[in-house]
Amino acid sequence: MKKLIGIIFAVLSAVFLLPVAATVFLSFYSEGGLTLECYNDLLFDCFVFYPMFWNSVLYAAAITLIQLPVVILCAFGFTWAKFKGKGILFIFYIVLMMMPLQVTILPNYIGLRDMGLINTQWGIILPMIFSPFGAVVMHQYMKGTDSSVIEAARLETNSVFRVILVSVIPQLRVCIFAVVLFVFAESWNMVEQPMLFLNDKGLKTMSVFISESGSYAGAVLFPAAVIFLIPVLLLYLFFSDSLEKGLTLGELS
């Protein structure tokens, strides 16, 4: 029985890995056989790719770094603060999290337009900072943390920030890594926002480059897709242990 389950999972993994393997294979494949020509086309003949790559890095890093303190404070408020309407507010958060991007993107666009942030880097970063996903995950995890440590810290200081820094964050380390990975991957993969909120080609991201790869000369799609995979893969390799622990403990709590 165990063997059969093992085989089923192996087949399923192969099915999931097939598109990635095909992408990597096709990035080295040209009419003549296996070659580096596609990489040559992308890296040495398509210079618009580089600004887009660094834009993706900038947006994903900025969103992750700014969102992290926001979601920690938000989750701390939902978990430990006592105020009226907390439950309803949290339900709103969950509803917002469940909403598809296509529903929220128009209100986001109107808000950004009115603030004059369309076609700016902040137009991409700002809406993503307040994404409810991280706050909800962090809140779920925070419910399982040791409250006595927080109470002890409260006796030592009146500063909420210090309480969070000393007693909450050390307990949240695993969850923080998991959230960092998810938020970075989400920001790295975004396509609709840069397509809608940005007109200037110099501000667009790598995901837009991939979606528009047909308009570039040479076989740039597959090598670009492979390079697109690498940063998230590296981040996953860094935080894979924490991610597994974070998800398991989150479920348990």
Partner: protein, 141 residues
């Protein structure tokens, strides 16, 4: 084992971003250095005598300046430089043309161009590599 894996990941990450940074600044220079380095010049002009016949049958002869090419260049065709946008950047390419030439011939062996090369077109005078129709080039002069 885990520490080695983390170290390898860290080294790979640093390498990856260092290579991307290097290519961001130098990919264009590397590409340009791999192109045929060409010298181009405006198509030359010569004065050719033209015979005109008026409506009442009067024959007049005068000279006119026309685009001209050396007879030596006509055999294998002439590469004309043009600029076009490729992958978001403006670049120089060459087009192989076999110009139609007239009967007029200057004293120094130039033939009048009737079509194929326009006044002001830049034609390739020398190249570091073999050219072909549609080839991207780097015009150094």
């Amino acid at each position: 084992m885990k520490i080695i894996a983390k170290k390898t990941t860290l080294i790979f990450t640093v390498l990856f971003f260092a290579i991307m940074l290097f290519l961001t600044f130098f990919a264009e220079s590397i590409h340009i250095s791999s192109l045929p380095q060409v010298e181009a010049a405006r198509a030359e002009t010569r004065r050719f005598s033209v015979t005109a016949v008026s409506a009442d049958g009067e024959v007049a002869q005068y000279s006119s300046e026309k685009t001209a090419v050396s007879e030596k260049m006509l055999g294998e065709g002439i590469f004309v430089v043009y600029t076009a946008e490729k992958n978001g950047t403006k670049r120089s390419f060459v087009r192989l043309v076999f110009p139609e030439v007239g009967e007029s011939r200057s004293d120094d062996g130039y033939r009048e161009v009737i079509s194929g090369i326009n006044y002001g077109d830049r034609i390739i005078m020398s190249t570091s590599k073999e050219l072909y129709d549609g080839c991207e080039v780097n015009v150094i002069k």
